[in-house]
Symmetry: C2
């Protein structure tokens, strides 16, 4: 009987681990257990399907169980929910979602890649038809059907994070009037408020209403039980809405792991080694259910992003076959596009760096990203954050054109290498008039930051 | 009498040094001596003026002597040619180009920023009207006048480097039939031949004829002395041409420095410290007349690029005021756009790495630069080069869309930090479907390279 790798969760981390393990060790039997109906899709693409930019949900799917079997020799069992891990027996009890029948699956190596679960506020009416979150392809399909089933005029988005804003754009593109309700003083906590302001303006100039420092109260329903509107807490204000989308954060799905005695870290996600090992032999965890070291602070964090999940999955898959691979962590890189504005960030924002106790210095510049005499290429605002006491660059935020936002990767690379601000200021970046500026705006920002620092290193 | 900073050369390095010195030490008198008629322009923009993408040569000029005086308090004297440096007297003999009158200029600190001179092959007819190189704004104006003065049908570009190819495009856009003659087996030596091939196809599919492994013989002239065509060496083949553009390389302008006893390095450019000091006290050199350390090899090189010149100029200007600034060198980053194809490179090509004695491993992939279900963003070919024995990444080349080529900066940053291939493979780069792919193609290429390496670090 061949060695058995069992993987709970058929998306970014799980799929990547499965593919990697099977490629490195073709004789191993690799089985994916997925509780939903689909494996291997881009959940990030969901808002673009709803907004009509991508035509069909099927376009988001990379593999079906059939193509995965045929092309990669991996078994993926859908609508099969892992209900209990029994480490002493090296087996997992699995329930067929349709029939309710349970059976044990033996493993030699087990990967927990159960991902995250969207948080929902405990509001009256939160379960009403027309209230959605998005963590699975089915969620997108359900929203799509809902939108198609009747005239939909208004939408309220509760929470102004990545998905919330993408959904705001998608629903606006569908012709709905859209309001974003954000309880913080500023939307999009991944950016400092001064940078998030640019994003808010872009939303507003595209007809999205943004209410900050406001909390949703109860969700009002019609006689048929479906959503009618959202009341703003502490006011009598009612926002009419035929659709409500919730984006108030996510939490790692760790119930299975906890029940099996697998240790969680302080973040509430599964504690893993650099090799993605849990505290129980032969059990690995990867993706959004596992912790990720933030390389700028050196501390474990939640990093609920596909880019992190696939890298962790790859490392887990490699280690499961007996090789040695290590995942060094992330640096906090993320991007979003909202209407015409591209946004990217990496490392720590000024606010985050302050909370972490760094001696924060920050600088912000606006610049074009091409030679001044050249059309196009756009412009952007670049904010950079440094640490006065060590001289290290801590992070950057860019809001502007696509070509501007892409430059975040320079800083992401510099952060992974632990470069100081003065070292970044001397980087040899590409220039030719049709593609860039002689002084790359990242360098302009970093040079300006360097000027503010007392010791110039 | 205030301290006097004298700067020979009023372009990238000289202008940047002047501005920096004046900003840091406003009481210093800063004087630029420029032998041509213009200071402070983008020579890189010249082909775009000729091609009609940028409308006027004046658009390439950042400062005139007047605006420089008014806005920055710096004196720039044009058509004033430095003819001799007298270090023992701390003075420079300067000739008024129009009157021929000479006078001495005293300095406390001197910067040599004389740039480069285009090489010209010693061909019969090389001085004929209609044969051009481009190192000054006047060259562009002269080409432009020449093109305007009579019907121009054919052009021959001798040498297929950066400017040669940009000129090929510019002249093609002007409706001329264009032939590039390159003596190497492959155009564009900054890329390995397999990558340069993609560039050659792009030229050819835009109607530019490319002859490789062919040398220009004599330049034939008409009765009025102007160019008529170029003969290919060793053949009877004649390429008809009303314009010939030469791009066979450049050399540092070092005559003045040599005559003053300033030491050159092995590259033939002025040897400088990290602070841009020459061997003679109070004399600095910066820009394309000075050597630049290649940070991948650790050896001095010629780096005739504006990006390097401005950084060296900034460092020189800072040191001239008594501060301490260091220029760590470049990593060989450069970019060019030819018709619809964007090209970028950094570090060492595979050929260069072999010449340097590295144990070269290379890999090449083709990839899209966005989520597969997302339009646009283009695609590109990414080639990466690593060193088997140290595990270090040595360089990359990208040919494709603009968004593809911009990714070179990730590698440029990694090279500056000396990252190993495995470290680069774990970089946390930005992703969102409208802007990029979940696996950034640079990471795909680097992961593929890593697979080929015996020790995986």
């Amino acid at each position: 009987m061949s060695e058995q790798h069992l993987i709970i969760g058929g998306n970014a981390a799980g799929m990547t681990a499965a593919s990697r393990a099977k490629r490195l060790a073709p004789s191993v039997a690799v089985t994916i257990l997925e509780s939903s109906r689909h494996i291997s899709y881009s959940i990030c693409g969901l808002p673009y399907c709803l907004g009509g930019v991508v035509s069909r949900f099927e376009d988001l799917v990379y593999f079906t169980p059939e193509t995965l079997r045929n092309e990669r020799g991996i078994d993926a069992l859908v609508e099969m929910r892992a209900v209990e891990i029994l480490p002493s027996r090296r087996s997992v009890v699995v329930e067929d979602v349709r029939s309710g029948r349970r059976e044990p699956f033996r493993y030699d190596k087990l990967l927990i890649a159960t991902g995250y679960r969207p948080l929902t506020p405990s509001l009256e009416g939160i379960d009403a038809p027309g209230v959605f979150t998005a963590s699975r392809l089915e969620d997108g399909q359900a929203i799509s059907s809902w939108l198609a089933s009747a005239p939909r005029r208004g939408a309220v988005i509760i929470g102004g994070g990545y998905v919330g804003l993408e959904m705001a754009e998608a629903l606006r593109r569908r012709g709905l009037s859209v309001t974003v309700v954000e309880k913080s003083p500023s939307i999009f906590a991944a950016l400092d408020p001064d940078m998030a302001e640019l994003l808010q303006s872009e939303l507003e100039s595209n007809g999205v209403r943004v209410l900050t420092h406001r909390e949703a109260g109860k969700i009002l329903t019609r006689r048929d039980g479906s959503v009618e509107g959202v009341e703003i807490q502490g006011t009598r204000r009612l926002l009419e809405a035929d659709v409500v989308f919730i984006d108030v954060g996510v939490e790692p799905r760790v119930d299975l792991a906890v029940a099996a005695g697998i240790r969680l870290g302080k973040t509430g996600a599964i504690e893993v080694s650099e090799r993605m090992e849990t505290n129980i032999p032969a059990i690995y965890a990867a993706g959004n259910c596992a912790e990720t070291v933030h390389r700028v602070t050196g501390r474990p964090t939640l990093a609920p992003l596909g880019t992190v999940a696939v890298k962790q999955g790859r490392v887990a898959g490699e280690n499961m076959t007996g090789r040695v691979a290590r995942f060094p962590g992330w640096v906090g890189t993320a991007a979003v596009k909202v209407f015409g504005l591209s946004v990217a960030r990496t490392g720590l924002s000024s606010q985050e760096a302050q909370r972490e106790g760094f001696s924060v210095v920050e600088e912000k510049i606006e610049s074009r990203f091409r030679a001044p005499y050249f059309e196009g290429g756009g412009s952007g605002t670049v904010k950079v954050v440094g640490d006065e006491s060590s001289g290290r660059l801590l992070g950057a935020q860019i809001v502007g054109s696509e070509a501007a936002a892409l430059r975040i990767d320079v800083v992401a690379t510099a952060l992974a290498a632990g470069l100081r601000v003065d070292e970044v200021s001397q980087l040899d970046l590409a220039y030719t008039p049709p593609l860039g500026a002689l002084w790359n705006p990242v360098l302009i920002a970093v040079n300006a930051l360097l000027k503010k620092m007392k010791r110039r290193y």
